[in-house]
Assembly symmetry: C2
Homo-oligomer: 400 residues x 2
């Protein structure tokens, strides 16, 4: 995480130029994505981004929360393929009409041109991939509820105005849940419980979400009841964070997902699909909590709780490093995730900037004064308040 | 994991037909993939498979080992896009010659035909994606070594004879490491340490790997030294499990990955790429340890250590369930991962079959006899040996 020091060095000049979140939000957003090592937006394919080390760590933290929620609510994790045959697409005319301008089409395998019907689409979403498998797996009422989820990349070339994390052409953090039920009643009850699960998740992440039932004309193709979660970003633009849709029996009829009920009668299954995009959840966390110095991370989200920055000269280096390592060891024994930034190529000042940009909740400075008085100096990232504490482990633990 | 009982029921007839690993390995392999819920091979796009619940759990276990090895050896985890512009491909003629028959080409975005040079390839591997970014990130010797890895799907339409997990068209478990060094010497030293890391990993997984230096004419395009790891599958076919390649400065020259050395002189960086495919690691574990009853999993790989199967009638049900739950609780307190198969729709016999197919290391039966004598009956999956033990927690723990 502390690589590319030279780049950091080259950029210290820029840091004096304040990019103001309240004046130009998008400029600030792009600045923070790069400086906090979230994504690199300079990849050569439009709407595709490189997830950098810090961004990917945040991705994994958010993903772990979402994964846990899915598993706790009885889902099996699976993974479905990326490519969809054109002939499958042609079975569902509403769906293809909805997505026809959004799809990347593979027309060639090597030098071989694919024939009509055999051409392959990159999934814009996975209904057409998952539901034909449901038709294979579901035979009787005993096979339900069937609940699966997956985390995959999805591809949509819908827009020219791409925005990293928010409007991508490849979105890596799509978490799709799909489930099948015997009746509309059961399906809607589960939809409601999924909504509650999300509410708890977003509360934990500190994101204020509004649930809105989507009017019929704006619904996902094949849906009969859709409730979406929205946030309002700075600049008053609303953004969809996740969707939950009751699909009724629309897809069951297209793909023949039938089951024998308790009276041996054939019935169509009732389907739900739902899911957030981690990309957008992270964008929201950045937009809500970040400031002109960088990210501000809640302790639940931050990959580490605190960073120790030792301040030494040639004479006191070894003793300060020793003291820092002792403190690190004790803090770890209390259960905190702690790192020392002992990079020799950067100055303490640059390390302060860096830890503020990354949004690490607490920064601990240890220099000659701290060493002499058996103290540590702690700065909170959210309030930027500084405090010097006597290093008595018990009281520190209570304080932190 | 115990869903689709009806399917299981429908198939009990088939179970009597023995599919013999030693007589027809490939028939057995396909049988086990489906029966142990690893992948479903019935997806409509050739060479693409659906990862089922048990298979995906095994995938995550193996992935966790590999991820840890990468992180311990100083790699940053990132994620790079799927699509590559044709114009990038055209910069590297050797590379494109190597892969020209293997690439899925996106020729259309929606209804819009893409022009020559703008067409997009699905990554067959990520050199052309990652190295142009390295060129942006590396400025001076201070930026190295730069070590990154990612876990992504890769796409290759090279063969018509696809084999699930072994010769796919989409491989979901590709773990690519890429790193940049100042000199050949440093690069080769790291290549060697990566080799050692893999040896340890494969030993842990119980896989006998042979390292072989690949002759020049068979090397990956752009490589100047390649050491691959092979296993011999039943039927004496050898399979490449992973590759480690020293790429020299071939790609550095194509993508201008230069740095200023300690004497402010411009130099090209030296590149390494390496990685296993989890799909093939899992295939090897299945092929090596599986038998005619199903998977056999080493405790390190199995998502759970033991499964408790209660055997009851209407009269003793509640007391047997109570005893089983007590035992589960205690085993969990010893640190084991334990589940009870309390599904009411299947018989104990079907549960035995199921636990053997899944390869769970230990099966615990608890019936009237066990209850009466304060015992449990344990069957090891690898030897199929059965043993009845007195339930005295301390001694049990020592025994297991």
């Amino acid at each position: 995480m502390f690589q590319n020091e030279q780049q950091t060095k080259n950029k210290t000049e820029d840091q004096k130029v304040t990019i103001d979140k309240n004046i130009d939000f998008w400029k600030w957003f792009l600045w923070i994505l790069q400086e906090a090592r979230i994504v690199d937006t300079n990849y050569s394919v439009k709407g595709s981004y490189v997830w950098l080390d810090w961004g990917y760590k945040l991705f994994k933290k958010i993903y772990a929360f979402a994964q846990e929620a899915y598993i706790q609510s009885g889902h099996n994790q699976m993974q479905f393929p990326t490519l969809i045959k054109e002939s499958t697409f042609l079975k569902e005319t509403d769906f293809i009409r909805n997505f026809e301008n959004d799809v990347f089409w593979v027309d060639r395998e090597g030098s071989k041109k694919l024939a009509k019907g055999e051409r392959l689409a990159l999934r814009p979403t996975s209904e057409l991939i998952i539901y034909p498998m449901f038709a294979r797996w579901i035979r009787s009422w005993r096979d339900m509820p069937l609940k699966v989820f997956q985390n995959v990349s999805i591809f949509r070339c819908e827009t020219n105005e791409t925005r990293p994390l928010i409007r991508n052409r490849e979105t890596i953090g799509f978490i799709e849940g799909h489930s099948a039920f015997q009746s509309k009643k059961e399906a809607l009850a589960f939809l409601e419980s999924i909504g509650k699960t999300y509410s708890i998740l977003f509360e934990k992440l500190g994101i204020p979400v509004k649930f809105i039932e989507v009017p019929k004309w704006d619904q996902f193709a094949g849906s009969t009841k859709t409730i979406d979660g929205y946030v309002i970003l700075p600049g008053s633009k609303s953004m969809e964070l996740f969707t939950t849709a009751y699909l009724g029996t629309t897809f069951s009829k297209i793909f023949n997902i039938e089951y024998l009920d308790q009276h041996k009668k054939k019935q169509f299954v009732h389907l739900l699909c739902y899911g957030p995009s981690i990309d957008r959840i992270l964008a929201t966390i950045i937009a809500y909590y970040g400031d002109n110095k960088g990210l501000v991370l809640l302790p639940d989200i931050s990959p580490i709780d605190m960073i120790i920055i030792p301040i030494f000269n040639r004479k006191n280096k070894s003793i300060i490093m020793q003291y820092s390592n002792e403190i690190k060891k004790q803090l770890i024994s209390f259960g905190f995730k702690v790192e020392i930034d002992d990079n020799e190529l950067t100055t303490p000042g640059m390390k302060f900037y860096q830890s503020e940009k990354l949004g690490i909740p607490l920064r601990i400075e240890i220099g000659q004064k701290e060493l002499a008085n058996n103290e540590i100096t702690i700065t909170r990232r959210d309030t930027l308040q500084k405090e010097t504490l006597n290093w008595q482990s018990q009281s520190i633990q209570a304080h932190i």
